[in-house]
């Protein structure tokens, strides 16, 4: 996901009359609350494209507290997924820029004030950053929606406030990172120091650009590390904007460096850098493997991976069907289906299966697809043409393999990368739509008989990121929560992503945990200090 080699040429060719210049032209306000395109209605017309209420201010790399061009002078285009139109050109960082950024981060760590100031002072800077995020919430949200196609209402009302909340959470940790005093087998005094690990490399994906930024940057900085972060080439803009705010909040130069660019160049350089002490990656399982390999071939840097998933959502026979339908629907369709932990295998008990299909289909048909800047829109465009085409081909494979297409299955409209909310029933375990991560608005519904059956089938996946369980029976809930080999089990809820709740994968969904107290360990070294005791009063 995050490392993709090819930017489709056709995207720039698809640029229409709404050029970047006209998108930025003043005097046109966004037309909130105009007619809403439902899934079954006609496509967006050109007049309906809403002008994002924000301007792009930063397109250069952020190294050592300065916005700078790429060493090569190269840039790459970033597009509006609503239309495929160009938003702007962004500096394209590659190996040389990574080297510059790592050098700055190294110096900031080895000699700079950041790890040397008190944890409370660090926390105050992070708190100040959170206050600035809050102040600029709507601009940040607009930029995020423009670059990624995420519905603006959600970005502005949920995601950016949640990002702010995450930074406040990590700020509160900074002065509560405790080592231990440790019992010894003899007359020794033993203590553990929890030291920052050093320079952290971080590579984040395009599906939740700023949320992922918060998950990565928050704990790394709270622990006293310095960071080089590579954003996804699809969504480079918001990280640059907020990182500027971070410096306004008092972050010393070199502590947080942002490189826009591509995976095979910038990403690979970061993962294989000899002076980077830790790498954290969120993206596809395929790329995760490459990261791990590059780390092992270079300096054996510690690796955290948060990768793909094919998460089961299990609806038991006692479930309240209407609620289950709604939750299962949002579990897969939220964020255009572009969630690593999307509940993309909906297992439904045979006794409630028919009713569930009927209602899920109806719910999908009611889903409101359209310009993400429009009020009430639930689903925007997919991120780019490649993803768009990949999802459509997955849908074709579903049809060819004999699953029943209940609704959707086509492109939505004629412009941009919108896809109809799609529901398949009669899905079998071995079909590609039940095994592959589609990363799109495609629900695959499977029927199950009993708990043993569903546990075995739910676990029959190389992924293990999350699971949903819908039941009011405490025995069923207890059995499932322990039996599912996944990093998060949501019971009668889904996508509950509090700052304090750890998140991460079993199996090929990754390693390590993000958020919560657990994620601090990713950014800390543990140093044991031992010294003899002469005549101690006790041991």
């Amino acid at each position: 996901m995050a490392i993709r080699r090819v930017l489709s040429l056709s995207r720039s060719l698809a640029a229409s009359s709404a050029s970047a210049a006209s998108l930025l032209s003043p005097g046109r306000n966004p037309s909130w609350g105009r007619d809403i395109s439902r899934f079954s209605t006609a496509a967006l017309t050109e007049e309906e494209v809403i002008i994002p209420p924000v301007q792009v201010e930063h397109t250069q790399l952020l190294i050592n507290g300065q916005f700078v061009d790429a060493a090569s002078g190269r840039t790459f285009p970033t597009f509006d997924p609503r239309s495929g139109d160009l938003i702007t050109h962004v500096a394209e960082g590659d190996e040389e820029d990574i080297n510059r950024a790592v050098f700055a981060a190294r110096e900031a760590f080895d000699d700079g004030p950041w790890p040397r100031m008190t944890a409370y002072e660090r926390s105050k800077i992070i708190y100040r950053f959170a206050d600035l995020l809050e102040k600029h919430n709507d601009e940040i949200a607009a930029l995020e929606t423009w670059d990624s196609g995420k519905p603006y209402e959600h970005t502005a009302n949920v995601e950016i406030p949640k990002m702010t909340r995450l930074f406040r959470y990590f700020a509160g940790w900074a002065d509560k990172i405790h080592g231990l005093t440790v019992p010894a087998d003899g007359p020794y005094h033993v203590q553990t120091l929890h030291e920052p690990i050093g320079v952290a490399g971080q590579i984040i994906p395009w599906n939740f650009p700023l949320m992922m930024y918060a998950w990565k940057v928050g704990p790394a900085l709270a622990c006293g590390n310095t960071v080089v972060l590579k954003t996804a080439e699809h969504t480079p803009l918001s990280a640059l904007y907020v990182s500027k705010l971070f410096h306004e909040a008092g972050l010393p130069p070199g502590v947080l460096n942002i490189i826009s660019g591509f995976g095979p160049t910038a990403g690979a350089a970061l993962a294989s850098h000899m002076d980077v002490d830790k790498i954290a990656f969120t993206g596809s399982t395929g790329t995760g493997k490459i990261i791990l390999e590059l780390a092992s071939k270079s300096n054996l840097k510690a690796v955290t991976l948060e990768l793909g998933g094919k998460s089961p959502f299990i609806v038991c026979e006692d479930a309240d069907i209407d609620k289950a339908v709604e939750l299962a629907h949002s579990a897969v369709f939220f964020n255009q289906g572009q969630c690593c932990c999307a509940g993309s295998r909906t297992f439904v008990h045979e006794r409630v299966y028919d009713e569930f299909i009927e209602k899920s289909k109806a719910r999908a048909m009611r889903r409101i697809v359209g310009d993400p800047f429009k009020k009430g829109v639930e689903q925007g465009p997919q991120i780019d043409k490649a993803q768009f085409e990949k999802i459509l081909s997955c849908i074709r494979s579903g049809i060819e393999s004999g699953a029943t297409l209940e609704t959707g299955g086509e492109r939505f409209g004629t412009k941009g990368y919108f896809i109809q909310p799609t529901v398949f029933s009669d899905v079998q375990d071995d079909m590609a739509i039940a095994t592959e991560e589609i990363f799109g608005p495609v629900q695959s519904i499977l029927k199950f008989k009993d708990l043993d059956d569903v546990i075995q089938r739910a676990n029959k996946s190389r992924y293990g990121l999350a699971a949903g369980v819908f039941t009011n029976n405490i025995e069923t809930a207890n059995t499932l929560m322990r039996s599912l080999r996944v990093g998060t089990v949501w019971i009668n809820c889904y996508f509950v992503f509090d700052a304090a709740i750890p998140f991460g994968g079993y199996k090929m969904s990754g390693k390590g945990r993000e958020k919560g107290a657990y994620c601090l360990n990713n950014y800390l070294q543990v140093k044991a200090v031992v010294s003899p005791l002469k005549n101690p009063a006790w041991l």
Partner: protein
């Protein structure tokens, strides 16, 4: 010692107008039910600053009733830890906006140095609130490892309505040392400040309301220990009492708790803390540390280093230098930035300290320096050092709570440990040495809640402290202090066919 002024000198700072003198109950400032008031005195000159509502049992009952309601039905324990933390952050910001006024209030009410109040005490309480604000969303229970097929976990629930009884020596710091973790935990509370220093607590109550702390969550009842304090400790509807003060009163609080509803008690009491200085110490800096240890806040601090043990190799030099240094110590109006020591809090304390000094002289201790009141007005006492003291003298055994040091000589480390532990108290200790082995050994050997090696008074938000022995139990500061405001509830349910246990 240098005398600067006596409280009537030209004050560089305007004395603030006192705005809050009533009880704070359920978000309102109210008169006491009896209508009674008491005087609060400026210790610089013995003059009345203001008359303050005198709360007693009836007022405590009322405060408990609203705190109970705020806990049982109100939003405070029902909002998320993060939301509580946000309100607490606001509270801290409001304090930051009033630093000067608050420092001035503590200076006139408690005789505390205005400059250090402004630079240290008041900003520190804002920082302390922020520390606990950041802790409010990090209170974790545990999943348990059961020996049978059970799923079990612990919930750490707020304990309920808390009573805080706080002393006069650090009116602001003590207020928040108790209130901040209790707020973070989700408790509601009644605070009884000391009758000597009721003013800043009422000011904080006002700021709490502005910050958005819901009515009934934080109540302040000013009044006396024997009436209001006793009513809190023996109240049947208070779930926990946290007390800082003397060992004698601590005993009464615990007794009242035992005789009423067996509420848990946390006590932070008196001390007679040793400072042990070894031969390898740098004498000049050891002298500075020792003087700071006993003279800081005029010796009115429970962790004062009131017993100073100096190893024989450097003893004579230490005595000489300590005497010289004590004579340059500046006693004077707490508003004067040159002052290092203000007046004792009130006449009772002042008289008590002087009588201890007289007693020490009668018992045969040598008065190295000081020993007398100074300034013609107010409760100022000279920095006082006794030498040639014996372990069984009252000045070595009792907590004097004034600027009076007992300076003693020792030979071996074993002797130092034994004598340092020869006390019914166990609050703090200081060690001055460059020898790692000595430092490690003595740290483990001293029976006290906090050990400062080559430093003293190194308090920190994250650093718990509290007493061994008759210095009390329970810890303030750090995440440990949350424990006393939380209940632990275990929840257990059977599980079937679990793939692991």
């Amino acid at each position: 010692m240098t005398i600067q002024s006596n409280g009537h000198s030209e004050n560089p700072i305007k004395i603030p107008k006192i705005k809050f003198t009533k009880l704070f109950i359920n978000g309102e400032f109210v008169d006491s039910i009896s209508g009674k008031t008491f005087e609060t005195i400026d210790p610089r000159n013995g003059e009345v600053i203001a008359r303050v509502a005198e709360g007693d049992k009836a007022d405590v009952d009322l405060a408990v009733k609203v705190a109970r309601e705020a806990f049982d039905q109100g939003q405070w324990p029902r909002m998320t830890g993060f939301e509580r933390g946000r309100i607490m952050m606001k509270f801290a910001d409001l304090i930051d906006e009033s630093i000067e006024e608050l420092a001035a209030i503590d200076a006139i009410d408690a005789g505390k140095l205005f400059t250090s109040g402004k630079a240290v005490d008041i900003p520190s309480v804002a920082n302390m609130i922020r520390y606990y604000a950041g802790a409010a969303d990090k209170i974790h229970g545990q999943m348990l490892k059961m020996s049978r097929p059970f799923q079990a976990y612990t919930l750490r629930e707020p304990i309920g309505v808390v009573g805080h009884i706080i002393p006069w020596n650090f009116p602001s710091t003590m207020f928040f040392m108790k209130v901040a973790p209790a707020l973070a935990a989700g408790c509601t509370m009644i605070v009884k400040p000391a009758e000597q220093t009721p003013l800043s607590a009422l000011y904080y109550a006002h700021l709490a309301k502005l910050a958005g702390i819901p009515d009934g969550v934080l109540n302040v009842v000013t009044g006396y220990g024997s009436t209001a304090g006793a009513a809190i400790s023996s109240h049947m509807d208070i779930d926990m009492v946290s007390f800082t003060g003397s060992t004698e009163v601590g005993r009464l609080v615990m007794q009242a708790a035992a005789q009423s509803n067996l509420k848990p008690v946390s006590l932070e009491l008196g001390g007679k803390s040793p400072l042990i200085i070894f031969n390898d110490a740098d004498v000049d800096s050891a002298v500075n540390l020792a003087l700071l240890g006993i003279l800081y806040n005029k010796g009115e601090i429970c962790v004062a280093g009131s017993r100073v043990y100096v190893q024989e190799g450097i003893y004579d030099e230490f005595v000489r230098k300590a005497a010289a240094k004590a004579k340059t110590w500046v006693v004077g109006d707490p508003f004067d930035p040159r002052s290092q020591q203000g007046p004792q809090v009130d006449k009772t304390q002042f008289d008590k300290i002087l009588s201890y000094i007289e007693h020490g002289k009668r018992e045969g201790a040598t008065l190295l320096t000081g020993g007398k009141p100074c300034c013609e007005k107010g409760y100022y006492i000279e920095p006082t050092i006794f030498t040639d003291v014996k372990e069984d003298m009252l000045v070595v055994k009792d907590e004097i709570f004034g600027p009076v040091m007992s300076l003693m000589k020792f030979e071996s480390v074993e002797e130092a440990i034994e004598r340092a532990n020869n006390t019914r108290y166990g609050l703090a200790a200081g060690i001055v040495t460059k020898d790692l082995n000595l430092a490690n050994r003595v740290s483990r050997s001293i029976r006290a809640g906090i050990i400062w090696i080559n430093c003293y008074f190194a308090f920190d938000n994250d650093c718990p402290y509290g007493g061994y022995k008759m210095s009390g139990f329970g810890r303030d500061n750090g995440l440990n202090s949350l424990d006393k405001y939380l209940q632990v509830k275990s929840v257990v349910t059977p599980i079937h066919n679990s793939p692991w246990l």
